[in-house]
Symmetry: C2
């Protein structure tokens, strides 16, 4: 927790940014007159769908792997992920020439599995529950001796994800009323809220979460790690519940968590595709869906929004 030497201070986030810079894209910030008209807000989209591996998770993955001691890197890196963190670790391992062992749910989009293998990583499939993912990755670690990097409940990962918001604030030059991000396990959201706290302390951070994976909104109320009442959503990157490290930061630095239905997510995703001509995955559209559902709350505000990723299976679109 906060007295942990790895807890992401502003200096630690700065160091993470310097460390990962050569291996990530400084992604553009896009605006859309049409979406501003539709929303009534002034939205600045930080386009992490254009990031290496097609998602912000390259930041956390690269920071975690580059932070390992060289002896640890030689043992290889293991993780579990529904897709983007898998690619991030596979990519980061390839950067340092290490072996990556990735446990993926057996319903992962084929395009994500192909991409992970494209970086030379070894894929092991598991059933798509948090418990099964952890059980199988424990087996992989026991078998290979690899170092486990958790997809979100890891301060090195959180510090890496924080760099997206650091860039959004610096590159836009805007003092945001609100910065929005989706929440799954909370790696991005906790990093976003820490970066806002350090670099733009008057900015509120508000998350969007699918109704079909509504654990974080519960945890936010009770202060404990909760599970979702039910798990069924198109936002396949947001299925997991929080960890102790992400919950701790979220409780301290996040203002609110708003839930949206799958239909609202699909409508927001389609708006981004049609109006901005860019490809985003369903999880990525959750904050815009939350804003559009609560227009009066954001009316006239300057809103920063992290577009998290663009890895969709074009053969399985929801429209």
């Amino acid at each position: 927790m906060k007295n942990d030497p790895l807890y992401p201070t502003q200096d630690i986030i700065e160091a993470a940014h310097d460390r990962i810079k050569p291996y990530i894209h400084r992604t553009p910030i896009l605006t859309s007159q049409t979406l501003d008209e539709i929303s009534g807000a002034e939205i600045y989209f930080k386009c992490e769908n254009f990031q290496k591996i097609g998602a912000f998770k390259a930041r956390g993955g690269v920071n975690a792997v580059l932070s390992l001691a060289s002896g640890e890197q030689e043992r290889g890196i293991a993780t579990h992920s529904s897709g983007n963190h898998a690619q991030a670790i596979a990519y980061a391992a390839s950067v340092v020439g290490a072996k990556a062992y990735i446990v993926m749910p057996d319903n992962s989009p084929q395009v994500k599995v192909d991409a992970v293998r494209g970086y030379g990583a070894e894929v092991t499939f598991c059933k798509n529950t948090p418990e099964e993912r952890q059980r199988i990755v424990d087996e992989v670690v026991a078998r290979t001796g690899a170092v486990f990097v958790h997809p979100f409940n890891d301060y090195r990962v959180i510090a890496g994800q924080a760099t997206a918001t650091r860039e959004l604030i610096e590159d836009s030059g805007v003092v945001f009323d609100t910065i929005m991000a989706p929440v799954g396990g909370g790696g991005l959201l906790s990093g976003t809220s820490l970066a806002a706290h350090y670099y733009s302390p008057l900015t509120k951070v508000i998350a969007g979460e699918p109704e079909g994976a509504a654990d974080a909104v519960l945890s936010f109320k009770t202060g404990k790690i909760e599970k979702a009442p039910y798990v069924e959503t198109i936002a396949d990157g947001l299925l997991t519940y929080l960890g102790d490290k992400t919950l701790d930061i979220i409780l301290r630095h996040v203002s609110d968590i708003l839930t949206v239905s799958d239909n609202e997510i699909i409508a927001a995703m389609r708006l981004i595709w049609e109006r901005m001509k860019i490809i985003v995955e369903p999880s990525c559209a959750v904050p815009l869906a939350a804003l559009l559902k609560n227009k009066e709350r954001f009316a006239g505000q300057k809103v920063g929004m992290i577009l998290t990723g663009g890895n969709v299976d074009l053969g399985k679109l929801p429209f």
Copy 2:
């Protein structure tokens, strides 16, 4: 022809650029390490899919309408178009507060019809042949007194389209070996070749054309306006044949025209979607398809490529 006072000289293209600047986006130039690896070339994509109305045609349309005398603007503007020029004229008319009358083929994508009506234009449908389009637009002009702006065989339109390549050359700072664009009626291709001629005289301009609308490649050989042997392609923006003005410029300034099949177009379109995370329409992927079909010819070259538009019907994707 070249002695016509409207023929796009470098000064006329400069003036067009100054005229339209307030009403168009200065679109970004994107690169993709993955596509460079796949192609063996170094490709700079000028992203006119992010342009106003989602396509480069905003440039020509706005230039034509702003070039009209104010008395002419009051009569309204009429045109025919399979989609993007329709939106361009509708948008341009709305900029000057004029009425737009648009003749569209009855198989136009719904998203394009909706967008045209969104700018307040009046839509009349026709059968999808060049002859029928012209016949119906003649009727509209006779009925309304509107000024007809041809979608491509018009020097004001050609000068407007030329500004995309002017920006590509200036903003990239690259001396291109080749600049590529698709060819339908030749408005973009003739403008592209003029801009390359003036701003980067050592750069070759090479077009891509669908096999299922292969008229320009024939015209390029015979020096006359030819019709395609057959017309059937997914690249619905490229169905028409050249005009006398576009043919004249193309014969003087274009180096070659390469044809590609619909399967090659779809594969190139999918590559752009998956690897660059941006939305392009089938016509837009034709030059990349042509490059990938002729890799040895472009090996190691610096290639500028106009990504023409992103207006696809998400309900009718080819993959």
